[in-house]
């Protein structure tokens, strides 16, 4: 926990929520599509505060405005538009979207795998399949959320590339021109690719986490920003939004328990 501006204590999960929200700062009127509990809370926080024009889905076929609580299926919300699955591809392929996905494995270039682990013909673990990862990463902005930062996830080489990383996008030349991985947010810190060779870089750590801890939990050589700062705490208004409006059931604390 860290001290908050309200005098109380802010949890690690709440720092994660703010770090996710910051990924969508400045995105304007595009679809923010954060997948996962803390990503959804963070996306809704961004829209309820500093990125009010973001467009978001109900996870199914509607575009809805809020804020409304996560984990409540019939929470009252305003329907803005109809967006069945096939319309989603119109959004993705036109580039008007910033998705935040998970990753079972990710390498230093941002190549991501959540399809399966092991051999193609007989995987050790069948996971999600390729889902929309190839299209997402080559057509719109992508960020990643990893609630369990470890060298099992941050690996030297992923078993199969479902989401495209910077090295592969660069090799495509002009065909890779819409590729951008904005951030990787984890329970330990925030990473980006703002290096000359587009290798992953640690930019922020969660309060109480050292740079060495992040390095030790990463299975490849991590670039380190000249000045690694701490993730910022939520403002009092943001904290109220998180705790009272968007996640009153505190589902965030289940995804990232406080250390």
């Amino acid at each position: 926990m860290s001290a908050s501006g309200t005098g109380g204590l802010v949890t690690r999960a709440e720092h994660c929520v703010v770090a996710v929200a910051e990924c969508f700062r400045g995105d304007g009127e595009i679809m923010a599509n954060p997948i996962g509990t803390i990503p959804m809370i963070g996306g809704r926080l961004a829209r309820a505060s500093f990125s009010p024009d973001l467009v978001m889905t109900d996870g199914e076929a509607l575009l809805v405005s809020g804020p409304y609580p996560v984990g409540v299926r019939n929470a009252p919300k305003t329907v803005e538009a109809w967006n069945p699955y096939r319309s989603m591809f119109d959004v993705v392929w036109s580039g008007r979207r910033h998705v935040m996905m998970g990753a079972s494995q990710i390498d230093a270039h941002g190549n991501q795998n959540f399809a399966f682990v092991g051999e193609w013909a007989r995987p050790k673990a069948q996971l999600l399949g390729f889902r929309g990862a190839p299209g997402n990463t080559i057509q719109n902005v992508t960020s990643y959320w990893i609630p369990n930062h470890s060298s099992r996830v941050f690996v030297e080489e992923v078993d199969v590339v479902s989401g495209v990383g910077y090295d592969r996008a660069a090799a495509l030349g002009t065909a890779g021109r819409f590729h951008e991985i904005r951030r990787v947010v984890t329970n330990l810190g925030v990473l980006d690719f703002e290096t000359p060779d587009r290798r992953m870089r640690l930019r922020e750590v969660q309060p109480g986490v050292t740079v060495d801890e992040v390095v030790a939990a990463t299975g490849f050589e991590l670039a380190i920003a000249a000045e690694v700062t701490e993730t910022r705490a939520p403002t009092p208004d943001e904290l109220a939004l998180i705790r009272e409006v968007i996640d009153p059931a505190a589902l965030r604390e289940q995804e990232v328990p406080d250390p």
Partner: protein, 281 residues
């Protein structure tokens, strides 16, 4: 005026070993499960199944009717990974064509439009391109960009489930998403639609917005009236997903014994009418 009403057994009689079948719906939503169970009870083998996968794929993997799955995910929605599909993959029992969700759409659309592929940027740079079935094409225009030629996914047979339909083969969905059911039908040589209820044609336009009448009789060869036909998948507004039943289904993947028990009770019980009695639909 033709009456296209048929039974699940009539549909299964159309199947041949090695056929490619497409199944509509999405994950564990509005799947034509009465038709899928009829296929699963048959001895047809070596099927290629093309699906935005849910328990349809899992069930046919568990019963051994499948040789190959063309998919981009296989999920039960509230349970992230389809357990029987997972077992089949991890046992090396099936081969796959891995696709991006949108590339899948293009494949159905290409087959529906009778072209061999549709161009897209989707797939470039990813390991989808390691598959021999997915190739690239160069733009003949000045940009000369190299694109993925998303391969057409022509189907021998398509199975979809709608809320309402008439005897002539027009169909209507009443939930928020048509999914890709019309494209599955358009991509297939033979098309079979199960419906919760067969109604008079005039009752379709009276039963929902005109946009809900997504399936025309141009797209179908047979209609199966199957109340509860999507069970245990979601078929709102008629009924939600049977989560308790889905958990029981998931548990059946834990051991051969558990599967044998489930299979005897819910599959070997007989046709859809018997299944409805067993489940209490």
């Amino acid at each position: 005026m033709s009456d296209k009403r048929v039974t699940e057994a009539d549909v299964v009689a159309e199947l041949r070993d090695g056929m490619t079948i497409g199944i509509g719906g999405w994950g564990s939503r509005r799947k034509p499960m009465s038709l899928v169970r009829a296929v699963a009870r048959s001895d047809v083998k070596d099927l290629t199944v093309v699906s935005y996968g849910g328990p349809d794929v899992g069930l046919l993997c568990a019963t051994g009717n499948v040789r190959k799955v063309v998919y981009s995910f296989c999920s039960l929605d509230s349970i992230a990974l389809e357990p029987h599909f997972r077992n089949a993959r991890q046992a090396g029992a099936i081969s796959t064509l891995e696709l991006d969700e949108g590339m899948f759409l293009l494949g159905l659309q290409a087959a529906a439009w009778r072209v061999p592929f549709l161009p897209t940027r989707v797939g470039l740079g990813s390991d989808l391109m390691r598959q021999e079935e997915i190739r690239t094409v160069r733009s003949p225009y000045d940009d000369a960009e190299e694109l993925v030629a998303a391969p057409a996914l022509p189907l021998d047979l398509a199975l979809v489930h709608m809320h309402r339909g008439d005897a002539r083969g027009n169909g209507q969905y009443l939930n928020v998403d048509p999914y890709f059911d019309d494209l599955f039908c358009m991509a297939a040589k033979r098309r079979f639609m199960s419906v919760e209820r067969v109604v008079e044609t005039d009752a379709l336009a009276g039963g929902g917005p005109i946009q809900s009448m997504r399936i025309s009789r141009l797209m179908t060869d047979g209609v199966v009236e199957a109340p509860g036909g999507a069970h245990f998948t979601e078929c709102v507004p008629d009924y939600g997903r049977d989560e308790a039943f889905q958990r029981e289904y998931t548990t059946s993947a834990k051991s051969p014994e558990a599967w044998a028990t489930w299979r005897e009770k819910y599959l070997d019980c007989g046709d859809h009418a018997e299944y409805r009695k067993v489940v209490g639909l």
